[in-house]
């Protein structure tokens, strides 16, 4: 097994084992932390599909997470306060909310992708951000759903036998979702479809000459990625039980990007590793000092300047030796 395969398994096993141990030893807060981490890791994994493998640097990915969360929050809100019954959208059923999250984000990705994918490079970065900001200000202006005050989700999604109010079960669902997301992305990038997306990252002109309509392939990848992020958002809404436009802010998209790059773009375990390091560092440093941004920033810079290929690159290289 290659160094990276071993690393992936080690990381995933630890991630499965540690949080419940925390819970049972009377540290429920660390289980919460792990749940948030795992959910953000799903979003990072989805971003990695287009950013790492496809070279499509989406600076608006947090908007998908946010939309996914609102797809849980808005039906729950109407279920409590009325409205939208005719559309069947006044509900707390997870079987409605989760598909809704996926559908809404996929649609949003499709519509904006049609425009965004005409641009390249930094133009793409900025136009994805622009669409995310529009969603941000749109939600801010809808007073019914709390505007910028956000929306409290009073009731979590109902999912058959699963009880999401139980932190362990919620963690379990998130963890399994992460595993599935990782396997899915891995399968996609290794497939023929994935090869085309990767080829288009480096040389779209050559790909067109070979006979690939790169625009269509990228659009599909973009939609898949968006929908996965939407799913992560639905989980996040259930976890925090509070959602606000703030979670779609461009700095949140930036954080997802950093998780991917920090951990190692275009690797299976990279985004997860990035999420772990990002969240754990954030938590650990911020309990030490309110000036934690200083060491945190220095660490980020250090990683970029001295470690190429992200943490996954560094760790698996050491193992190979």
């Amino acid at each position: 097994m290659s160094g990276r395969g071993g690393l992936t398994i080690a990381v995933m096993v630890l991630l499965a084992a540690l949080p419940p141990v925390f819970y049972w030893t009377g540290n429920p807060f660390y289980l919460d932390l792990a749940t948030r981490l795992v959910i953000l890791a799903i979003a990072a994994v989805s971003l990695n599909l287009i950013l790492g493998y496809g070279g499509l640097v989406s600076f608006g990915h947090a908007a998908y997470v946010g939309l996914g969360a609102y797809a849980v929050g808005i039906p729950a809100h109407h279920w409590l306060y009325g409205g939208l019954e005719s559309l069947g959208l006044a509900t707390v059923s997870g079987y409605v909310q989760f598909p809704l999250a996926i559908a809404v984000t996929a649609l949003f990705a499709l519509v904006t992708g049609l425009v965004c994918l005409r641009t390249k490079g930094v133009y793409f970065i900025m136009i994805t951000m622009a669409f995310a900001q529009m969603i941000f200000y749109l939600i801010v202006s809808i007073e019914e759903y709390g505007g910028d005050d956000g929306l409290v989700i009073d009731t979590r999604s109902e999912l058959g036998l699963l009880n999401l109010d139980n932190p362990l079960q919620l963690f379990g669902l998130a963890y399994v979702s992460l595993l599935v997301a990782m396997l899915l992305v891995r399968m996609i990038v290794n497939s023929r479809f994935g090869m085309v997306v990767q080829g288009a990252k480096n040389n779209p002109e050559r790909m067109a000459t070979m006979g690939f309509n790169t625009y269509a392939f990228r659009l599909v990848a973009y939609v898949i990625s968006g929908a996965m992020a939407g799913y992560a958002g639905a989980l996040l809404g259930n976890f925090t039980t509070f959602i606000s436009p703030e979670m779609m802010d461009w700095s949140r998209s930036g954080e997802l990007m950093f998780m991917v790059i920090l951990g190692g773009a275009a690797t299976t375990v990279g985004p997860v590793l990035g999420a772990i390091v990002f969240i754990v560092l954030e938590q650990a440093l911020s309990t030490i000092t309110i000036y934690w941004h200083l060491p945190f920033g220095l660490l980020l810079m250090g990683v970029v300047l001295f470690v190429r290929g992200g943490l996954a690159g560094m760790l698996s290289r050491n193992k190979d030796r």
């Binding site: 080829g199 790909m207 070979m210 392939f217």
Partner: protein
């Protein structure tokens, strides 16, 4: 057999420069048709218009009788047109074999296949190695493309064009950057393609052109000043003057 490609009254100008000037040309099915001409005559521009990378201002391009003037590049590739690039254009961060495998994959029809791993598709790998072998790069198959030398890149360029097995190949200076020995090998290789594919060859290596071409057209300032057999062209005074020198 008829013409696989007909170019009718093609025009393309950049600002004040007429890169293609009312150009009319036909390539017969199965022939190797060489286009020669001075630097800046508009040869690459012609290929770009044929492959779909650039849009002509006016004029028509017919492929097997069908008007393809407005089709995008990838559609033309599906119909059976491929090109090689004068200025190397490869997928630098993939392996040499992956580059060729992608070209093969493109021939399979659509690539919206999400499940099976591409590298485990036996046909793609085996055939890919075949094509690499033909240009002498089989032993570099697993290397990253970026780590190859210039001449090796030029040969990959050709391997990809071959792998597409297109009915019409537009080759833009395939010999450029090759060593003298490699050039000879390449001439032999191209000879084996004759008859199976129709080829539009652009080349400044006159030895190669005269050794291979069924017909030669001479392009100067965007239009064809002469078309004929190699012998006719060699004897043509205007061509001597505009292009060949006393060679």
């Amino acid at each position: 057999m008829g013409d696989i490609l007909q170019i009718q009254g093609l025009n393309k100008s950049f600002g004040g420069i007429k890169a293609t000037d009312n150009l009319t040309l036909a390539v017969e099915t199965g022939e190797l048709h060489a286009v020669i001409g001075p630097n800046g005559a508009g040869k690459t521009t012609l290929i770009s218009q044929l492959s779909g990378a650039q849009r002509p201002d006016t004029g028509r391009i017919l492929f097997k009788g069908r008007d393809i003037t407005a089709l995008p590049t990838h559609r033309r590739a599906h119909l059976g047109i491929t090109r090689s690039f004068q200025i190397t254009s490869l997928i630098m961060d993939m392996s040499v074999l992956d580059n060729v495998a992608l070209a093969l994959q493109a021939r399979e029809g659509h690539s919206f296949r999400f499940v099976q791993a591409a590298r485990s598709v036996d046909g793609l790998r085996r055939k890919g190695l075949d094509y690499l072998d033909r240009v002498g790069l089989a032993d570099k198959a697993e290397q990253q493309t970026v780590a190859l030398s210039h001449g090796e890149h030029r040969r990959m360029e050709l391997a990809i064009a071959l792998a597409s097995e297109a009915e019409l190949m537009l080759l833009d200076e395939p010999m450029a950057g090759l060593g003298s020995q490699e050039s000879h090998e390449m001439v032999d290789l191209l000879r084996t393609l004759k008859g199976k594919h129709s080829i539009l060859l652009i080349e400044h290596d006159m030895d190669a052109v005269f050794a291979l071409a069924d017909r030669i057209s001479v392009l100067v300032y965007g239009h064809i000043i002469a078309t004929g057999t190699p012998q006719e062209i060699r004897d043509n005074e205007a061509v001597q003057h505009a292009y060949l020198g006393e060679e």
